[in-house]
Subunit: 246 residues, 2 copies
């Protein structure tokens, strides 16, 4: 195996992974950039609202708090985020934000929904290599219309035998998907940048996980402590060596 793969005890690549038939891929920040756009939007939100709010208000924290409060109602994705920006703008300015700023916030959301997909390095060749020996599925959380647009414009869709946009990536969701593709969890491996969403629920089912961290992690996805064992790669480029026929 590659020296870039940091292995943890109990999950040796080439150990379990030879049983894997189906590989699931996360999309946002695993196959293409996503979190960068949210960070940029948040910085712009702070710039736009700063002249209309009292000194000393932490505008980023106010936006995050609004997002978090709306999560169970609005879910993940750009439309929910844009509505949270609009709501937070009204609240933090105590109703003083001009309509022109509101218009700019809506425009930021539109731009995020329509900007072209920026693939992460090595993605097409990695999918082609592991797709030659394994069945691939794409499992992504978020907004149905936006995720579908990204999938269909990414040029990657043909690698996947099945694509699912899901509401929440929990064990029940993964259980449903492995049944749908007709394998046991032990023959399924999920690859993604979020330990919370891509790795832990799959391990809980008896499946496998490969964590490929992205340099930005949304606060909601952070997991501080976990005892589970899984493989962590510094680059997706190293994935094919884990699944190469021995």
């Amino acid at each position: 195996m590659t020296t870039d793969a940091r292995t943890r005890p109990g999950d040796r690549p080439g150990g379990h992974f030879h049983d894997v038939e189906v590989i699931g891929f996360d999309a946002d920040d695993t196959l293409w950039r996503s979190e960068d756009a949210f960070h940029a939007a948040e910085r712009r939100f702070v710039e736009l609202l700063d002249p209309h709010t009292p000194d000393g208000i932490d505008l980023g924290a106010a936006l995050t708090a609004t997002e978090r409060a709306n999560l169970s109602i609005s879910g993940y994705g750009v439309k929910a985020f844009t509505l949270s920006m609009v709501e937070a703008a009204v609240t933090v300015s105590d109703g003083a934000v001009p309509a022109s700023v509101i218009g700019e916030l809506v425009e930021i959301g539109h731009a995020m929904l329509t900007e072209p997909v920026h693939l992460l390095p090595h993605v097409p060749e990695v999918l082609a290599r592991v797709g030659a020996t394994h069945r691939l599925v794409l499992i992504t959380k978020g907004d149905l219309v936006h995720q579908t647009r990204k999938i269909t414009t990414s040029g990657l869709e043909h690698h996947f035998e099945h694509v699912e946009v899901v509401l929440e990536k929990d064990a029940a969701t993964y259980d449903r998907i492995v049944r749908h593709v007709g394998v046991t969890a032990g023959r399924f491996c999920m690859v993604g940048n979020s330990v919370r969403s891509d790795i832990l629920p799959v391990l809980a089912l008896g499946g496998h996980g490969v964590h490929v961290p992205y340099h930005l992690t949304w606060e909601h996805e952070r997991v501080e402590h976990h005892d589970e064992d899984f493989v962590e790669l510094t680059s997706l480029a190293d994935l094919p060596t884990l699944f190469a026929p021995r």
Copy 2:
């Protein structure tokens, strides 16, 4: 058959319908009310914006035009609609709308996303009756988090062996779903309030359709002319007679 069922030539209930194994149900305005809330929100939008716009502007038409322009980017559903209300408010007021009105528009969206499901008459007993002899699936278009919330809080989920929230109800979508449930289109019948989304694409595949109109139809779903033959019921209460064993 019931006298409430208006039959069209070529599709006699008790004729084809004895081959049907799986019945698909639309949700919004077929099982529960939906369009009423959008109409009420539109009326409130007009009231709220009227003091901030020049005389003679058709505010309802402006909102509809904004919604329509955003459809391919934002899709269907309450979050997309709320963002369109905010955008239209900024535009029609030429930037003069106060933040308090923006806050009210966001609040209308929140209320729509969280209000309890209002089932249409006869729904639970109709599902129980046809569910005793047929496999039922729920196929609904719209926002993933909102539709999922409505399904899980409706008390109806246990009637359905499969639930799909889809981006667009076209022939490709229905083809995928009938394959997934393991029947040919000829053994599938879709029940819904939209001729465009629930009936015509299923007939195109060789399946069956039962149209149950709702008193409100979203402009986008209207079909002025069609040559297809399908059954139309004035009330969902009459559905079981179409599928009763002979």
